[in-house]
């Protein structure tokens, strides 16, 4: 968002004889005109501005308007109500505020669980398949399938399996293993949260597996050999070689997983519909209900802005702590 200003400065301002200061000497041979990199960025910039930045600003603007069924048709002239929407969304003494808070807590717990589980499964699978053995290729392929399926398909299949009377899950858990006396519900009630986590993990862990597999390939074998000569067993090798070497991969992977899980809409919506059980009422669905189902787009936008603010702060802190290096790549 700071970009337009910065870029204008870069293009217009600055004395023409100012060489790219940070460029190292050997790169001076590239006969770059100063505008050249900007030209390369223009398509990306335009696309991001058109589809993300400008609509987002309109969304922020909507959050201080009263955009509902009465004003929707002339939404550009909706009444300005300042921070009323925010006050309504964030007032914890009101049911709406309590629900938003509960939804937020649910989403955070959900996201943390999904990220951790995906990462653990991905790591376990990648390490288990690190050394070649017959059938490794088949397994790698198989593990990637859930990620390649259309989301709707994957989730609807799970829905099918999670039905209380006719689903496979209860057949196995209750009839097969006898774990419960009474058939549990998976699509309503407290367990719906468990279902949501499991389905999301099933869909997304292959991505963690793929990325970690890629990361493992860049670890030189010598490191393991040295560790082995030092007498390190397999567990210590994992702790002393694999995990430290994976740190840069993990940094990106965890952030991507975090953003995906936090913002995901399709999985909870397909699993539960527009009115999710309170235990699985994550923010994306909650906000969808507030805006598209009950037509209060101003309130929905205000909630989204709060979420955005949280994500920006959380990601910034994360990047700071995990050592940002894109600036001086």
């Amino acid at each position: 968002m700071s970009l337009p200003a910065t870029q204008r400065r870069g293009r217009v301002g600055g004395p023409p004889d100012d060489p790219p200061r940070r460029a190292r000497t050997r790169r001076r041979r590239i006969p770059a005109k100063r505008w050249f990199p900007y030209v390369l960025l223009v398509p990306a910039l335009l696309a991001e501005l058109a589809v993300h930045v400008i609509p987002m600003l309109v969304g922020v603007w909507m959050s201080v308007q009263q955009v509902n069924q009465f004003t929707l048709r002339n939404w550009t002239r909706a009444p300005f109500i300042g921070l009323d929407n925010f006050a309504l969304a964030a007032r914890l003494s009101s049911p709406a505020g309590q629900q938003l808070l509960r939804s937020f807590t649910t989403t955070v717990v959900f996201t943390v669980l999904v990220v951790v589980l995906c990462w653990l499964l991905g790591l376990a699978a990648a390490v288990a398949l690190q050394k070649p053995f017959p059938g490794r290729g088949v397994l790698r392929t198989l593990f990637l399938v859930p990620f390649a399926l259309p989301v709707f398909t994957a989730v609807i299949t799970w829905r099918f399996m999670l039905q209380r009377d006719t689903g496979l899950v209860n057949r196995v858990l209750v009839d097969g293993l006898g774990l419960f006396d009474d058939k549990p519900f998976w699509l309503v009630g407290p367990n719906s949260f468990v279902s949501l986590v499991v389905v999301m993990v099933w869909r997304v862990w292959p991505y963690a597996f793929l990325t970690i597999t890629a990361g493992l390939q860049s670890i030189p074998d010598e490191l393991y050999e040295v560790a082995e000569m030092d007498g390190a067993g397999p567990w210590q090798q994992l702790r002393r070689v694999t995990l430290p070497m994976l740190r840069p991969v993990n940094r990106v992977l965890l952030l991507v997983l975090f953003l995906w899980s936090f913002n995901d809409f399709t999985v909870p919506y397909t699993l539960f519909g527009a009115a999710a059980p309170p235990d699985a009422d994550v923010l994306s669905v909650h906000i969808y209900q507030s805006s598209f189902v009950t037509w209060n787009f101003g309130l929905g936008s205000a909630m989204s802005v709060l979420v955005l603010a949280f994500l920006l702060v959380a990601s910034a802190i994360y990047m700071l702590f995990s050592g940002r290096r894109a600036e001086h790549a």
Binding site: F36, P43, V51, W75, A125, L144, A148, T157, Q217, L311
Partner: protein
């Protein structure tokens, strides 16, 4: 090096557990697709009472699956090709040049990844429709509008990954080309890109998958003619019936090309992610 018993047991356990976890839903999908409707409506059975291919025939009639499929292929291909081209240009600039606003640009691109879709869905829709009044060409309900939308969804990750990948390619390579008289873009196309192919493949697949499975925006930005598969599959659930077996059959059929393509390119994907992810 030889593994101890503990390690082998652990490995086999991991493999077995994850295989079961992965396979069971896939099996349910497969077996349901060959069951008669009556079967899939009752309690789940491991085997069908009768094997039928009828769902695979009926599914084309119940909803215009072929049309959705064509739409999805168009949109996903368009979005992935465009986003990769744009990402290559941007990543090249970011990797090879230092200029003002570079950090700002990276930050902006990455923060767009955090925008909740709900926040800009309605505004985006309004902009697309109003463009129709202003410019006479509608982005709403057109495949092109969807392509533009999806290509930006994939851009942040693609740029991020490609910058890392380009950084891992020695600058001496393109500098040599430049000394030989090539233009910067010539160097990009003839020297850097060939070396970065796995990275490009990884990004293409990522962009394709993003477009292929997106539901929220597609449900608002498309009409019946431009509906994509991800949304269109919902039409098997109608007012008074859910054609479970046809849903599963259709899902299988539409998944095959993607799964196949994904898996064919798997090696490139792993290699592409290696350099990119490690460097980024």
């Amino acid at each position: 090096m030889r593994d101890g018993v503990g390690v082998r047991v652990a490995r086999i356990t991991v493999i077995v557990v994850l295989t079961v976890f992965t396979v069971v839903p896939l099996y349910v999908m497969l077996v349901s697709s060959v069951k008669p409707l009556r079967d899939v409506q009752g309690a789940f059975t491991l085997l069908p009472s009768a094997v039928t291919v009828q769902p695979f025939i009926d599914m084309w009639r119940t909803v215009p699956l072929a049309q959705y499929f064509v739409n999805s292929v168009w949109v996903s291909l368009g979005a992935s090709v465009c986003s990769v081209l744009i990402a290559i240009l941007a990543a090249y600039a970011l990797s090879r040049y230092r200029f003002r606003g570079r950090g700002g640009f990276l930050t902006m691109v990455l923060s767009t990844q955090m925008f909740p879709g709900i926040l800009f869905l309605l505004p985006l829709f309004l902009i697309y429709v109003n463009l129709d009044r202003a410019a006479g060409t509608s982005l709403f309900g057109s495949r092109f509008g969807l392509i533009i939308t999806y290509l930006t969804f994939a851009l942040p990750f693609s740029i991020w990954l490609l910058v890392g990948y380009f950084d891992s390619i020695p600058r001496e390579l393109d500098e040599a080309a430049l000394v030989d008289g090539a233009s910067p873009l010539g160097a990009l196309v003839r020297v850097v890109l060939p070396a970065a192919l796995p990275g490009v493949a990884a990004v293409t697949i990522y962009a394709f998958m993003t477009a292929w499975t997106e539901v929220l925006f597609a449900s608002v930005l498309t009409t019946t003619e431009t509906r994509t598969l991800a949304v269109g599959l919902r039409s098997y659930a109608t007012q008074s019936n859910v054609y479970w077996n046809q849903v599963m059959a259709a899902s299988l059929v539409v998944s095959l090309p993607v799964v196949a393509g994904f898996l064919l390119l798997q090696k490139a994907l792993v290699r592409g992610l290696t350099a990119g992810a490690v460097k980024a």
